[in-house]
Symmetry: C2
Subunit: 178 residues, 2 copies
């Protein structure tokens, strides 16, 4: 075997796990499926991640970072003059308009915290991350409400199949800002 001492092995397993969850959902995640996706032997995944929960934590954390970067990209959000509600509504729209797989992936990992206490701190980190991006644009209390509202609106669109209405989202987010 030539691929021994692979320093990025761990990271590649996490990436593989994210792809697997994106494709088949958490239900399709197993030591074997990640191993196959990452092209490493079974024993390698069980070595780096004793339990699947551990792997999920790492995956959610990595996804969080990707999303945070996505938020940071919106320089408009940083502009003190911009309409925060409109900008948030636009960001959500763009995000939801992308391929459903990616959106499902992030939400599924996030929602998995419901049953897995190990994921809850990471879910909290996600909320904090979004809150941070909005800090300074309005008071912290309102920020938390905005995050909750965005979650609720996205979920309604995803769970019921109702198409996302950007103008409607803008209006409702605006109502929250005093």
């Amino acid at each position: 075997m030539t691929r021994r001492y692979d320093p990025e092995r761990r990271g590649r397993i996490i990436d593989a796990a994210i792809r697997v969850v994106g494709r088949s959902g958490i239900a399709g995640l197993s030591h074997r499926t990640v191993a196959a996706e990452a092209d490493v032997p079974l024993g390698s995944t069980t070595y780096h991640f004793t339990s699947l929960d551990e792997l999920l934590v790492a995956a959610l954390r990595q996804v969080n970072e990707t999303f945070a970067a996505y938020l940071q990209e919106s320089r408009t959000l940083a502009d003190p003059e911009c309409d925060v509600a409109a900008e948030l509504a636009r960001l959500m729209g763009d995000w939801l308009a992308g391929e459903r797989t990616g959106v499902e992936l992030e939400y599924e990992l996030y929602l998995a915290a419901l049953r897995r206490p190990a994921l809850r701190p990471v879910a909290a980190e996600w909320c904090d991350g979004v809150a941070e991006a909005l800090a300074g644009r309005t008071d912290p209390v309102t920020v938390r409400a905005l995050v909750a509202m965005m979650d609720g609106l996205c979920l309604q669109a995803l769970l019921t199949g109702t198409p996302y209405d950007e103008e409607y989202a803008r209006e409702m987010l605006a109502r929250l800002i005093p």
Copy 2:
């Protein structure tokens, strides 16, 4: 075998499935676990519900009805004089204060629609049900926003472990009502 021709067999299987999901989550749901919980042979569950998705649809639908009844109980909500935001915040608080198992159960079934298209119409029914209970108290557009906000607030409490703050919820719901 004495228990043949059991007309309520189907219903008892659904109830058993709900108990199983409440205890072990959807991940713990299998034809065999429901069969054991309902005290019927394996073949009986596969006969009544060809796929697990079918069983989940039936379970979510039944849970929805239970929750709708819970909402209807609040006669205060029907009183045109009452503070809708305050009443909703109170209802959420009472619900979340109950045993976590029940809350987790309902949300897990609801959120399962993310990956299972078969559940989406039922999830939509749930939204409509809540909207119906609020109909007449404010305009339909606002109602949808209230539902989204309630979802978001509950999820934040459940996913991040942050304790639910009733007064905060009341304030934010109130902002949505024009």
